[in-house]
């Protein structure tokens, strides 16, 4: 505890708990870091069979934290990074779709970077559908979104997610189970409205 916390970690906790101002401060940083790492990992892994977003976020954490950090700050970081990861992925997927339709001149440099993430058209479509459905759940209760981000994008355990979001593990478990199955059966092929 004697070490000065990294500047970024001063904002992580409030950001992970929904403080929009703090989120604005850390988000771009984490976002761009996730990019760099995702690209780097692409270049460095030969066999991609076990790569997942959690690995990328873990890399980002190692990179952004100069000290070992505490369990707690890591958890909050994972929560915020999961949000960023969701955004990274979604943007890449949308770019892919735009590309497919042959439109959408890419202007900003960040977009250019996003374009370098090679999501397959099928994966892009799946993600966009997934995200749209998740938004429906979030409209009813924002907690769904945050739980899915933690569990799905960041790979946090039930207990870890509960700690980060300051709800009970039982709630996380219940909402996660439900959201997972609900999202799945609402994917287009099931035609559930």
């Amino acid at each position: 505890m004697a070490v000065t916390p990294d500047p970024i970690f001063q904002f992580i906790r409030p950001a992970s708990q929904g403080d929009a101002g703090a989120m604005r401060k850390v988000f771009p940083l984490i976002y761009s870091e996730l990019f760099a790492i995702a690209r780097n990992i692409r270049f460095n892994f030969h066999g991609i069979d076990t790569l997942n977003t959690t690995a990328i976020i873990h890399e980002a954490y190692l990179k952004l934290s100069s000290n070992e950090g505490q369990w707690e700050s890591k958890a909050h970081f994972y929560a915020v990074a999961a949000k960023a990861m969701r955004q990274v992925m979604l943007n890449a997927a949308r770019n892919k779709q735009r590309e497919k339709r042959g439109g959408g001149a890419v202007t900003s440099s960040l977009d250019e970077v996003e374009n370098q993430l090679v999501l397959s058209p099928a994966a892009s479509e799946k993600l966009i559908d997934f995200d749209a459905l998740l938004k429906q759940l979030e409209e009813k209760d924002t907690l769904y979104g945050r739980i899915v981000e933690c569990r799905f994008f960041s790979g946090l355990s039930i207990e870890e997610t509960a700690d980060v979001l300051q709800v009970s593990p039982a709630t996380v478990k219940r909402k996660w189970q439900m959201a997972r199955a609900w999202l799945y059966v609402h994917l287009p092929r099931y035609g559930v409205s």
């Binding site: 270049f43 990179k63 994972y78 992925m89 090679v118 790979g155 189970q177 559930v192």
Partner: protein, 809 residues
Amino acid sequence: MAYSLELLEQIYEQCLSLPGEERVAFIRGACGDQEELRRVLLLMLENEQQSADYLKQLQQTLAGGLSERQPLPELNPGDLLGNYRVAEFLAAGGMSSVYLADRADGQYEQRVVIKCMNAGTLRRKDSFARIGEQQILARLRHPAIATLYDAGVTPGGAPYFVMEFIDGLPVDEWVKHKNLNLNQILKIFEQIAGAVAYAHSHLILHLDLKPTNILVDSNGQVKLLDFGIATGFAAGKSGQRSFAGTPAIAAPEQLRGEPVSAATDVYQLGMLLHKLISGNYPLAEDASPSEGFTRFNPQSLIREPEIASGIRPEIRAIIGKCLGKNPEERYTSPAELLRDIRNYQQHYPVTALPYSLKYRAFKYYQRHRTQVISITFIMLSLITGTVISLWQAGQAKAQRDLAVKSEEVSTATRNFLLDLFMAAHPSKTKGDTMTVFQFLDKGYHEAEAYKGSPEIKLEMLTTIGKLYRSLGDYRKSKDVLDKVYAMAKDSSLPLSLSYVQAIQQLALYQRDMGNYDSASSIMKQVFRLYSEIGHPAKDSLYTASLKYHAYIYRSLENNDSATALIRRTIALEEQIWPDRNNINLAESYYILGVIHRNQGQYEEAIENISRSLELCENIMGTYFPGTIANLNTLSATYSQAGNPEAALESSRRARDISFRLYGENHMETATSADNLGRIFLKLNETDSAYHYFIRGLNIRHTLFPEKDNVHVMISTNNLLSLFVKTQQPDSVRKYLAEALKVGESPKVQARQRAVTWWNAGEFYEQLAIPDSARYCYEKALAENRSYLPEEDSRVQAVLARLNSLGAGN
């Protein structure tokens, strides 16, 4: 939606807590008349497992999408890369695409594989910097390592590698296909570990030892692919905390982004051995990838290996030792691992099981301890590059002590080299790629600063000096060896085999510098020391020394002593390797051939050199330094024997292989250029001759910038003969002056001075100044007579010129 999510959540949770058969009825009851709620819940229940799987899969697809390859730098059939033409596309991997290609310059048929990294894999600057490193990689010559022939950058900016084409199966499939038993698997594994140990002795780690990188051809020959490529690219863009390789077999330190070392390859070898024996990696089934990363503690990124219980306890112990979480818990090198495998095969106790051994077994181990240490030592010495086969030398007490002592020395040296390994890893160098030279420099400074035992320091410096020399950096090598010599003169140092070897390095350095007299007297000292420590003659170290000395005698034009020594070497070597299929013998035949050639006995020369060439190609393959030396000498011999066509063919092959193996600035490349130039001169193609001579000269100037540059003498003489032949007096005068100046150096050999004077004589004849011509020919005659018998054709040729001049008077 027409229902409350909260309600849906509650019903679903309760439903899942019930036994399977009650769930549907529960949902029907709980939903009452809410049709849509019931339909959704029933669907959710039905798809509970599928939804979990789907999300897991989507998560991996997304991450996979991030790491999927970019559009490739299109290599199409017919494209030309260097000397190779792309034939067909084979496969695409995460970061590269693989093509079949054929040699395109029509010199000989050769099928190769081109591995083209995806564009953007590296920044352009990096890829150029890496080319130099590929030359180092190209030095890996081992029957079980696929040879890297060439590397470059495509016009589109993608780095590519040209590699030996291997028609084989991945090792795991081979094992399955052949239904190999444990002992057969261990034999294959020995080949693999041996190749990795060999690469380590050349300071190259593999870091991605998965079955698809290890092929077995139809003869059962193992071939490792992608050596050093993982290392070469590990820096990635950020240069830190990223790793190349396959996560499933990655060692903990790789996953943690910590420095890798020889022990990292040991870990992967352990994973591989388990897979070959049991068919799977030693990982718990439920340790699914996404779970692996869920804990915050970095330690938990690492899965606990679960070694299959069906494997024999000794092998389990060996694999367990390979898979130690910390590098220090593992075997320190593949060589040490190999030793334990051999212990197992020969029914010795394995070191991985020391404490659980029964008392008797432990006693047995103790009884044979010395022998075990000797084996260890041989293995360790593979790493330090100092091969000392004391084991063969028997068990006399003096030698046993020596073995123990030497082992301490070698261990220290080895650790020292492993440190270098680590230092060379990009994660320790802040993203800058350290070249082999840079980290040798680092090692040099560390060795100099070493304050421990002078013996260890001596061995460190000797190793470093040797590496510099073998990499062609003679100046650095001299620097280091001067220090070795200064230390060696200190008589307080105890006599040991490493001391003898250090002294020998010095002789080799003097030889390389052209100081043959001094090299010869140092070699005599080496043999005195051998007898003082009671080293046997029937031993490859001893015969190696004999051979060096023979070659030095040859350079001194002392053909009788050279012949005697080399014949003795061959006799001893044929006893050591009765099947005669050994690379050391190839070298001896070569030297004998060179001596024959020196004496104008071209037929015998061609016979011996061809024999050596055949052995080299059989044992080591085409891309091997010995092959080049043989081809170069063969070419020169053919040329002297009046067969320029055969000469040209050998010479072209030599140039080609040499350039691939060494790059431009290397003595062998210069020699090849000289040979080609001489042949073209004979064929009256003076432009081509000029081109090659100048190239040889430039290489020599680069390699040896000192003022009294003896090596430049050869090139100067070549150019001189060219300008005499083409009658360009200004150029002749320039190079003649140069040659005479350098010729004053005592390091220049008589035959080189003779060539200069001969050319000068021809020049003055052309200018019709017979007195000057006669003076020059007389000088040439004197030089020739100083080392050749009267009947030699070169003496007679000069005499003939003198006679014709006399007649003309």
